[in-house]
């Protein structure tokens, strides 16, 4: 049951936020609803744990916000300037983690900003295929690749284990053109 505790707390918090007031009634009601939902729709428990680093996580959130705005402006420009003649590409980028949690977080982080999203994750080959709108030619692939690698490093710095982070830095150090930025 302890493994389901985070889900219970989270659902209770959602319930209380939906009511907008913290009172004994909403709190108890929330716990009751959360328990019912958790019992009725059990999610598989993922054994691995995340190491949350608060400062790196804040950096990640800040970076995502800036990325959301910058990419938003780029896509608006793409809409107005190129429109029907817009071009795009699908780029293979190495996936730097084998944790399901982090792969999910990475895909979500990459896919949040306009113009880019993860089309396909290939766990066996450790590759993710990223769609990027606004690529003009094959030369842009390297830029997209570095951008996604940088995002992966930020996510792993915020949520990964120290071992994973070291492995990522090691791999990025060996990237052509020095992927670490």
């Amino acid at each position: 049951m302890t493994a389901r505790l985070p889900q219970l707390i989270w659902l209770t918090a959602v319930w209380v936020l939906l009511w907008g007031t913290i009172s004994a009634k909403t709190l108890l009601g929330g716990i009751l609803v959360a328990a019912l939902v958790t019992a009725a729709f059990p999610l598989p428990v993922i054994g691995e744990r995340l190491r949350v680093r608060p400062i790196a996580l804040l950096w990640l959130v800040g970076y995502l916000t800036v990325d959301l705005v910058v990419s938003g402006v780029k896509i608006i420009w793409e809409t107005l300037r190129h429109g029907p003649r817009a071009t795009a590409g699908i780029v293979a980028v190495p996936l730097l983690t084998d944790s399901d949690w982090i792969a999910t977080a990475v895909s979500n982080a990459v896919s949040l900003a306009p113009g880019t999203f993860v089309l396909q994750l290939d766990h066996q080959r450790e590759v993710c295929y990223v769609y990027h709108l606004g690529m003009r030619g094959p030369a842009d692939a390297e830029r997209v690749r570095r951008q996604v690698l940088g995002m992966q490093r930020r996510v792993i710095a915020a949520l990964g284990t120290p071992g994973e982070l070291a492995a990522v830095d090691d791999q990025l150090g060996r990237e052509p053109g020095g992927g670490r930025r």
Binding site: V14, L17, L18, G20, T21, L68, V69, S71, G72, I75, I76, E78, T79, L80, G83, P84, R85, A86, T87, A88, G89, I90, V91, A92, S107, N108, V110, S111, L112, A113, P114, G115, F117, V118, L119, Q120, L121, D122, H123, Q124, R125, Y129, Y131, L133, M135, R136, G137, P138, D140, A141
Partner: protein, 129 residues
């Protein structure tokens, strides 16, 4: 509410609405499913966040808390939806190849013949090309 607050929240509301409008414009102008998907899901995310922020400034904290949930779920679910629709569109082959200047996934799939990327999710056979 102070005059400055009114101006700031008005700017946020109008800016958010403008972004949603530009998203709709992108939906009309872009050439295929994958690019339209970008216009349909993403500028709205930012647009909605701005509108929510502008609205929150005009509300009491208790009502604003509920809006924070809306923002959170938008940020969590928008990428999932674009991934699902994009992947389905790619597999069904309903996209314009001439729009893509690079396609590493397509070249991977065709050089393999078979599709090993399915893994556990058991999606259908690879697209016939």
């Amino acid at each position: 509410m102070s005059a400055v607050g009114t101006v700031v929240s008005s700017v946020l509301l109008l800016g958010g609405a403008a972004l949603c409008l530009l998203g709709a414009l992108g939906l009309l102008r872009f050439p295929d499913v994958l690019s339209r998907l970008q216009a349909a899901t993403k500028p709205q995310t930012l647009g909605l966040l701005l509108i929510l922020l502008g609205t929150m400034m005009r509300l009491d904290f208790e009502d604003a808390a509920t809006l924070m949930l809306v923002a959170l779920f938008q940020v969590i679910t928008a990428p999932v939806i674009s991934q699902l629709v994009g992947r389905s569109a790619y597999r069904a082959g309903v996209l314009r190849r001439d729009v893509l200047v690079v396609d590493h996934l397509g070249s991977r799939l065709s050089e393999n013949g078979t599709d090993s990327t399915d893994g556990a999710d058991g999606a259908g056979p690879p697209p016939q090309r």
